[in-house]
């Protein structure tokens, strides 16, 4: 009983001494990040009422801020891709760019799990599972980086992870956007939507999906 309560509060009963505090600055920073990106692992969560209320208002402003930021980042990445494309228009470079893109995406999906499984002592499958669950912002919390009391992490480890999460989120948001677009086409909703847009008239159109601003990828 005691164990379960302790675990729920985020205190790890394993090990001999109490761990470095769960709420020191870098861990709190990481926590704030998981709130704002809506990942929400849950291995750590405010237990005081004041903390919970603060969390609610913090998220109320933080989540739109995060989405706007990711939107900008996505546009930036997109612009980058465009310049790359233009650079590639010159003959003979198409092959290189294609290979580069494949390499980049492969690297992006396969490399981080390697790092995590090495540092955290997970298997590669677990690392990949963690990567996906984090970047899709599902964030179960069964695997979280930097929480093993038996390991020593370099101080910037969590900050580096945070940076990776941000870029990975922008990238995965692109992927999901494409997926949602395809799905709409598949379900023949675009056809249906044209009827609706006629009915809407001069009022503001809800073009993008409500959760993530759609980043239009020029084909």
């Amino acid at each position: 009983q005691v164990l379960m309560e302790a675990w729920e509060k985020g205190v790890n009963p394993e090990g001999n001494s109490t761990n470095p505090s769960n709420w020191d600055f870098s861990n709190s920073f990481f926590f704030a990040g998981t709130v704002v990106t809506t990942i929400g692992y849950g291995n750590l969560s405010p237990s005081t009422v004041a903390g919970q209320i603060f969390c609610v208002f913090y998220a109320l402003f933080g989540v739109p801020l995060n989405l706007a930021f990711l939107n900008q980042l996505g546009k930036g990445l997109n612009a980058h891709l465009l310049t790359l494309e233009r650079w590639v228009q010159k003959p003979g470079r198409a092959q290189v760019q294609y290979q580069f893109m494949i390499c980049f995406h492969y690297f992006k999906t396969m490399f981080p799990p390697l790092v995590f499984s090495y540092v955290e002592g997970w298997s590669y499958g677990e690392g990949f599972y963690f990567t996906f669950i984090t970047l899709s912002t599902i964030g179960f919390g069964d695997y979280v980086v930097g929480t093993n009391p038996n390991k020593h992490y370099i101080p910037v480890y969590r900050s580096l992870t945070a940076i990776w999460i941000v870029f990975g989120l922008a990238w995965l948001a692109l992927v999901f956007n494409v997926g949602a677009n395809l799905m709409e086409k598949f379900l023949q909703l675009k056809w249906h939507k044209s009827d609706l847009s006629l009915a809407e008239g001069a009022t503001t159109k809800l073009e993008d999906e409500p959760e993530r601003p759609r980043i239009h990828i020029p084909s």
Binding site: P64, I138, E209, P210
Partner: protein
């Protein structure tokens, strides 16, 4: 039709996950019980290493969702309704985490399931959001015709709808949770917001207390609330983003 596909998809996920996870859970629960009895039988005063092992074993089991209460374990984490709820929490990206697949196959399935489920969820939210906006517009036009108000109707309707949404999504449900789940009202409000914004910590989760038996309409109402509440909150956030830009 979209809604049917959505529900079907979630149901499929729930069924598969249940089939995958339940046998393993049973096994793990039995193992834990066995260990515990062994420990208690052999040592009246457990030695530190054995105790340490037991602690680790309990934590491991707790992480995979089995709690040790009294003499028995609480099973039925992966029954059909909870698997359904888990699937929903996965594709809406809430991701509570109080329940998560522990088998390798279950995890791989979960990844693939989410890969298609999340866009499906986004599409559904988009459609619902558009329907809501349309509804508000129709109301505004109707009011214009009836009362001959001028340009302000749409703005007024929007604010009215926003406030109604606020009431229905964030202020009313906590009262329901207060009553059914035994939380305080601030906790209910906290839970509502954390769920609807898809942060989903998982420190508070509904329908997970094995001692509670809830009426059958409760879970359906919760699912509806999640769907409409998320749409409303997404619209609000979109407004905020437009404002920030």
């Amino acid at each position: 039709m979209l809604l049917a596909a959505y529900v079907g998809y979630v149901g499929l996920g729930a069924a598969v996950l249940r089939a995958l996870e339940r046998p393993v859970e049973l096994q793990a629960a039995q193992h834990l019980l066995q260990e515990r009895w062994e420990l208690l039988a052999n040592h009246t005063c457990p030695q530190p290493p054995a105790l340490q092992r037991l602690v680790e074993g309990i934590i491991q089991a707790y992480k995979s969702g089995i709690t040790l209460q009294g003499n028995t374990t609480s099973l039925g984490r992966w029954d059909y309704s909870r698997s359904f709820f888990f699937s929903i929490s996965a594709i809406t990206t809430i991701g509570y985490g109080n329940l998560s697949p522990s088998t390798a196959v279950g995890r791989i399935f979960c990844i693939v399931f989410a890969l298609f489920g999340i866009p499906l969820n986004l599409v559904l939210l988009n459609e619902t959001g558009q329907l809501m906006l349309l509804g508000v517009q129709h109301c505004a036009h109707h009011l214009e015709e009836v009362f001959h108000w001028q340009n302000k109707t749409f703005l007024m309707m929007k604010t009215c709808a926003l406030v109604t949404g606020l009431f229905l999504s964030l202020l009313l449900p906590p009262l329901l949770f207060c009553d059914k789940e035994g939380w305080s009202c601030e906790e209910g409000f906290y839970y509502s917001f954390i769920t609807l914004s898809t942060i989903g910590f998982g420190d508070h989760v509904i329908v997970m207390n094995p001692d509670h038996t809830c009426p059958s309409w409760y879970k359906n109402v919760i699912s509806l609330w999640i769907l409409f509440g998320m749409t409303w909150l997404a619209l609000v956030i979109k407004l905020c983003i437009n404002f920030l830009d």
